[in-house]
């Protein structure tokens, strides 16, 4: 077990280092940062000075080692545009994304579980088939298109909810969150729904499969024989048994939710880290792109590591074949 753990952790560190190399050299290919830092009529002397100040005059491998050295100390450079440390900048934008992802997860369970249980209950009837066909739409609808449609219906036509931006925020332990203010919550509903749709389809499918399996079990037959109502069987007995796999999968999906938030945040002009990434790509703000990618990669590596370790504890067979990155 200990050997496996050490090997697994060493693997994760190796992956993190490899990603560092890929991200650095990949982003190095984007245009010349000096062009956006200096006004076009700068003298050659000024250009040279700026190059030297940012270290762009050094050979690329020296720049890389400086980058790695700084990164290990938690410094991923300063934003060209904002003038702030890139890590601070991202940490500043992160809570907005996380609360959006959390509400999105909540919505996906709220929508997906009842639909899935019902579809499993009526598996061979038209209701079940309709829900399954609907879930295909949920899988295939492009995220941004759903967001646009929601804005068009609820913000432009009905005027029930605000269209874009972030509403009032409340300070919770020094972090600005809008989930606790009524106005802020109104701004969150549409983007969170957009983000939730894909996961809701996934939950629907999982819940349906689980329900179909559970309905033929003995405890359901027993409950029926006892005269328990169908609703109670479905939403008390069956639900308790199918929630474990659903919660597991959703935990795994939290990471991809953060990645998908890039699109949703752009549609709703939500000031999260995804919007920050897109803005940085469009303005060639190299340090922020690198910092975002490194931090996201790190989050994923940690999630995968934790999942693998938990699985190993639960299922010793995994140890033989080894896990994923």
């Amino acid at each position: 077990m200990l050997v496996y753990l050490l090997r697994r952790i060493a693997q994760s560190i190796f992956v993190a280092l490899a990603m560092m190399v890929i991200v650095f050299f990949g982003i190095y290919m984007i245009g010349n940062p000096v062009d956006i830092l200096i006004s076009p009529d700068a003298t050659p002397r000024e250009i040279e000075e700026t190059m030297a100040r940012f270290g762009f005059d050094q050979p690329i491998y020296i720049q890389f080692f400086t980058f790695v050295g700084n990164a290990l100390q938690g410094d991923l450079g300063r934003s060209f545009v904002h003038g702030e440390s890139a890590v601070t900048l991202i940490l500043h934008y992160m809570p907005a994304t996380l609360e959006l992802a959390a509400l999105g997860l909540f919505f996906s369970v709220l929508i997906g579980v009842p639909l899935g249980v019902y579809a499993g209950y009526k598996a061979d009837k038209w209701q079940g088939r309709a829900i399954m066909t609907g879930s295909i739409f949920g899988f295939s609808l492009p995220n941004f298109w759903v967001g646009m449609l929601l804005i068009l219906i609820f913000a432009v036509e009905l005027r029930w909810l605000p269209s874009t931006g972030r509403g009032d925020t409340v300070d919770v332990f020094g972090i600005r969150l809008s989930i606790f203010s009524e106005n802020g919550l109104q701004y969150m509903i549409l983007p969170a729904l957009t983000l939730a749709l894909y996961k809701a389809s996934l939950v629907t499918r999982l819940a349906r499969a689980g329900t179909q399996e559970a309905l033929v079990q003995d405890y359901v037959k027993f409950a029926r024989a006892k005269g328990v109502s169908e609703t109670r069987i479905l939403f008390v007995h069956v639900l308790k048994n199918i929630m474990i796999p659903i919660v597991t999968v959703l935990g795994l999906e939290l990471g991809s939710m953060i990645a998908f938030a890039v699109v949703t945040e752009t549609v709703f002009a939500w000031p999260g880290m995804g919007k920050l990434l897109i803005d940085s790509i469009l303005t060639l703000d190299r340090p922020v792109i690198v910092a975002y990618l490194m931090m996201t990669v790190l989050i994923f590596i940690v999630i995968n590591l934790v999942v693998d370790i938990v699985y190993t504890i639960l299922d010793p067979r995994v140890r033989v074949t080894g896990g994923t990155a």
Binding site: V23, G26, F137, S140, F144, W145, A155, I278, I281, N304
Partner: protein, 346 residues
Amino acid sequence: MTEMPAPIPLRERTADALPWLVTAAMALATLALAFGPDWSSLPARVLMLIGFVAICAHLLRGRGRQFFNGPVAYVAAGSLLLLVVLALFANEIAPQNPYDLRQLDIMDGRLPPGSTTFDGAMTYHLGTDEQGRDILSGILYGLRVSLSVAIIATLVAMAIGVVVGIYAAWAGGRVETILMRLVDLQLSFPSILVALMLMAAFGRGLDKVVIALIIVQWAYYARTVRGTALSETRKEYIDAARGLGLPVRRIIFKHLLPNCIPPLLVISTVQIANTIVLESSLSFLGVGVPITRPSLGLLIANGYDYMLSGQYWMSMYPGVALLAIVASINLVGDRLRDTLNPRLRK
């Protein structure tokens, strides 16, 4: 005297190469279509359409009733065929070439659906965008870009995936471990994140989008093919072929490969839809296809700025087209999975 085992019918296990050739021809035609300086010739496109229909017919021969099990299947297959035809013959069908500046009139900008040109010669059925381009024509041309980018990327990724997957399964040992670790590594990150990362490094461009989409997808195919190939190599017909002393190349290409393809076809159908969505998301974010060759995603992004002021048609109708193509591919893929997947067949 012991009974002789029944001879294994080798011929039943070898598939014919026709659909392969047609697929390859179609891929080349699409390539010419997307990257050629101008439209490829009409006969080439007609040929491609025939090829496409022939593949579908070949796949479904004898299983038509199983595939068309309800009205949804008919509608999905019909609309998919219709959209493919519209995309293929966009410049014959579209009332206007939206990228020919001589045909545009800036005075016709942002007209609502149903408006006509000043002289009444042409009706803008779906309105115009801010440059006075006909939305309907833009959608037809955009559909072509979206479809061809997705098809090329999927086919190339599939080819790479098949080669890597089969190689890994056949070679085994250390090679397999390294290749599959690489696959696991890539698949542990969401595809949109990988694609964004690549596009941030490449910059926007049609060829760059295709390359990014290939890199995003190949690992998925490699994993699937390796899985199938591993279970196929353990079957008797491969042992029989080996026992006959057939050369390895022949076993792989004539026996193993054809049997790995059917599950792959089902996946690739759905994967084309996913690729269209991914490409349109990238284009919507402004890191996808260039402005000179807008896909549906970019059209939606262009019209998005005007949507909040109630001029919905500029992004709404391209969105409906995108939804139609993605949904019909997915529904057809869903039917294909039920029809072709031997594991699910009862």
